[in-house]
């Protein structure tokens, strides 16, 4: 099997090693694995929502979420019980990603949006449970608040950079997916079906960001793009060649199967999360997590 070592290529991402995937710093600190998954999922959503409110391109939001997810992996990764918890690192990931980009943002913009998101009753948002007219006084930051939070943001940024060894490269599968669809002759002319497949594939690629199996940390962009196309074409009802066309894009059958299952099962997992947390907020800071862990232990004793 030919292996091509590439650095900061548009085609390849650094992947988590098996050791990094086997244990995390948070688990070593005693955070249960399922709670850890819920918290990281909530932190990823904070980035997505903040990105939408700040009108950032999805490309930047995606990079920020991938960097955020990498931070928590492995024994040498960050712990949710550190001073800088999921919320700080989430804001720092977004700040750091925008900084070098063509749409830089001030710490004030990011911190204000995060303050607003903290006022929401739950992060399992639907258009129905979003407050229609938010009250600015609930999330306004005074100069003093801003000063303190800015220092915390910079400190979290520094922690993030050090933990990732200053490697921030993220290769995205979206453009690849379009190229693949073109080479499969699905995206020709103005075929509405082709457009529907592309849209659906992009939705799967974006959902993968929040997948508890950390797909962007374990699979290369070519595999993600291929699996998203496979699934999208099935769903829309567009026929693809019956031969092993995925091999053209350097994806093995097993890889494809694993990814498709992971993508299909994601919806059920999120619904389970929504049910589990209901109206409660997922804990995002060290203090909140400690309370939640205490609550669970209490629950175990009662039961």
């Amino acid at each position: 099997m030919a292996a091509l070592e590439v650095k900061n290529s548009l085609l390849a991402n650094p992947l988590a090693t098996p050791e990094q995937l086997s244990i995390s710093s948070s688990q070593l600190d005693g955070v249960p694995a399922d709670l850890e998954r819920s918290i990281i999922h909530a932190g990823q959503k904070l980035i997505q929502y903040a990105g939408i409110l700040l009108r950032l391109p999805q490309e930047i939001i995606t990079q920020a979420i991938v960097i955020f997810t990498r931070y928590w992996v492995g024994a040498e990764g960050g712990s949710l019980l550190d001073i800088h918890g999921a919320k700080d690192i989430s804001a720092a990931s977004l700040y750091l990603t925008t900084k070098g980009s063509l749409s830089p943002l001030s710490p004030r913009s990011i911190l204000t949006v995060y303050a607003y998101l903290s006022t929401l009753p739950s992060l399992f948002l639907t258009p129905r449970n979003l407050p229609s007219a938010p009250d600015p006084s609930t999330y306004h930051l005074t100069e003093g608040d801003l000063q303190r939070r800015r220092l915390a943001l910079f400190s979290a940024e520094s922690k993030l950079l050090t933990t990732l060894g200053h490697h921030l490269h993220v290769a995205l599968p979206h453009a690849l997916a379009l190229t693949y669809l073109q080479s499969l002759s699905v995206l020709t002319g103005f075929s509405p079906q082709g457009a529907a497949v592309a849209k659906r594939a992009f939705k799967h690629l974006n959902s993968c960001l929040f997948n508890p199996q950390s797909l962007y940390l374990t699979q290369q962009p070519s595999a993600l793009a291929t699996a998203a196309i496979y699934l999208a074409a099935k769903e829309v009802g567009v026929r693809l060649p019956e031969c092993e066309w995925w091999e053209v894009f350097d994806v093995e059958r097993e890889e494809l199967g694993f990814l498709v299952v992971a993508m299909v099962s994601f919806k059920g997992w999120v619904e389970g999360e929504r049910e589990r947390w209901g109206e409660r907020r997922v804990p995002l800071t060290r203090e909140e997590i400690v309370v939640e862990m205490g609550r669970r232990e209490g629950g175990v004793e009662e039961g």
Binding site: K7, N8, T162, H166, E247
Partner: protein
């Protein structure tokens, strides 16, 4: 490629199209396969070479290469086709930054625009490296964006003539961040200060070729360096140069992004469009700087040593002529051009080649093109590499034949050089050109054209 009749039957009217599609697919795969086989063959050769040198290391690569598709696809396909090798991309993973304590500082080298550089030894391996401690400037910014860009861009670049960033290490304070780079003995600026003679024509050619190939690599990867100058060009004792200091570099696009800062490039190497305040510019700003470096390699002293922005423009116009609507259409629309008072009927400046008596016609033509006032008239870096100046005799000197020099960076504290610094962020004086009268810039130019005497030179 088993039967596909079921597929064709269902969509009779589109069968032709599908057939075409399939053929395309097959061609594509064939091509891919061929490339992979070649890759495979290369791999195999490498593995064999490795095996001869060290037998133990290659055992673990072997099974991976033989891996096949499992399940039904194997049983169906194996009869008529070879197992198909798939291309695997691997990228280095991530882990926490190492600590500065792994390195031992040997001596200070210099203070660059965005950090302090010193020579150090990695304790575990004994290797000599250059350590650049980043300056954490702005307290309202956090980690400096210029450092972020420099690290990302250097991580992206892999080129023989671009300095290699090995890793980023940290100290005990969050503000202690160091870039670990390969160490090179010289930079061209201090090297030339100590040379009794300028580089020979063949050495100059080799250096210019190396520099242009690095810049061509950057430009083809959509990167502008924006601070090319002799002190940012490092050289080792093998005659190889490496481009360094990417603190001003950034990505660009086609068409170029709007609202770029014009406060880039050290004054003496700054192009006229930047001095005239353009906010949309491209690769031509780097080519101008290469032109300035070229001239400096020939004479050992910078060609255009302005005292400030206005004086720099005056020196440019005195040496290369006045911009006109004919040689630079549209220059009048640049922000600072409105306040220029240019002589209406200037005498043409002495030809550039008269200052470079040793330069051949082809060399002078290349220099003049790189120093064209109009950025659109400057060649691309790729064109520079193809220029006939490099084909004619004397040929570029092989890197191996370069003389060696005593290294200042390696042995002693470097003398402070009186070269202006690269502009720094917002503190610099934007649009300082102001109202300037260039009426008299040619008054003194007559002396400079003194005839060049006889000059014996080794090639």
């Amino acid at each position: 490629m088993a039967s596909n009749s079921r597929w064709a039957d269902t969509e009779e009217d589109t069968a032709a199209e599908i057939h075409r599609k399939r053929e395309k697919e097959e061609r594509k795969r064939a091509k891919q396969l061929k490339a992979q086989q070649e890759q495979e063959a290369r791999e195999a050769r490498e593995a064999q070479a490795k095996a001869t040198s060290s037998v133990s290391t290659d055992i673990d690569d072997r099974p991976a290469k033989r891996r096949r598709l499992s399940g039904e696809s194997e049983s169906n396909e194996v009869h008529d086709e070879q197992p198909r090798p798939l291309l695997r991309f691997t990228a280095p993973g991530w882990g926490p930054s190492r600590r500065i304590e792994n390195f031992e500082t040997l001596n200070h080298i210099e203070e660059g625009s965005y950090g302090w550089v010193s020579r150090a030894r990695e304790m575990a391996t004994g290797e000599i490296v250059a350590l650049k401690k980043l300056k954490m400037g702005n307290p309202t910014e956090g980690f400096p964006v210029v450092a972020l860009r420099e690290i990302q861009i250097l991580n992206q670049c892999r080129h023989k003539h671009i300095v290699a960033l090995r890793e980023v290490v940290v100290g005990s304070k969050p503000s202690d961040v160091y870039m670990v780079m390969e160490f090179l003995e010289h930079d061209l600026k201090s090297l030339m200060e100590d040379m009794r003679e300028p580089f020979s024509p063949s050495e100059t050619k080799s250096l210019l070729l190396q520099l242009s190939s690095a810049v061509s690599y950057l430009h083809s990867h959509w990167i502008l360096h924006r601070d090319l100058k002799t002190s940012n060009i490092l050289m080792n004792n093998l005659g190889q140069i490496r481009l360094a200091d990417f603190g001003m570099a950034r990505h660009t696009s086609n068409p170029p992004p709007k609202n770029l800062t014009q406060l880039v490039v050290t004054l003496w190497y700054r192009s006229p469009e930047l001095l005239l305040g353009t906010t949309t510019y491209g690769t031509a700003v780097d080519i101008w700087s290469i032109g300035c470096v070229f001239a400096e390699l020939l004479t050992r002293s910078p060609l255009l040593q302005g005292r400030n922005e206005a004086d720099q423009l005056a020196k440019i116009f005195a040496t290369l002529g006045i911009p006109t609507a004919a040689n630079w259409p549209g220059f009048r629309r640049l922000p600072h051009a409105k306040s220029l008072a240019l002589p209406s009927n200037p005498p043409p400046p002495p030809p550039l080649r008269s200052s470079f008596s040793l330069l051949t016609g082809a060399g002078a033509q290349l220099l003049e093109r790189m120093l064209a006032l109009n950025p659109d008239d400057r060649p691309e870096a790729e064109e520079v590499l193809q220029h006939r100046y490099f084909q004619e005799d004397p040929k570029p000197k092989s890197e191996k034949m370069f003389p060696t020099f005593p290294s200042k960076a390696g042995q002693e504290r470097r003398r402070r050089v009186a070269s202006p610094k690269a502009p720094r962020g917002r503190e610099a004086d934007a649009g300082a050109v102001g109202h300037v009268d260039f009426g008299g810039i040619f008054s003194a130019s007559q002396d400079s054209e003194a005839g060049s005497g006889f000059n014996l030179k080794f090639r």
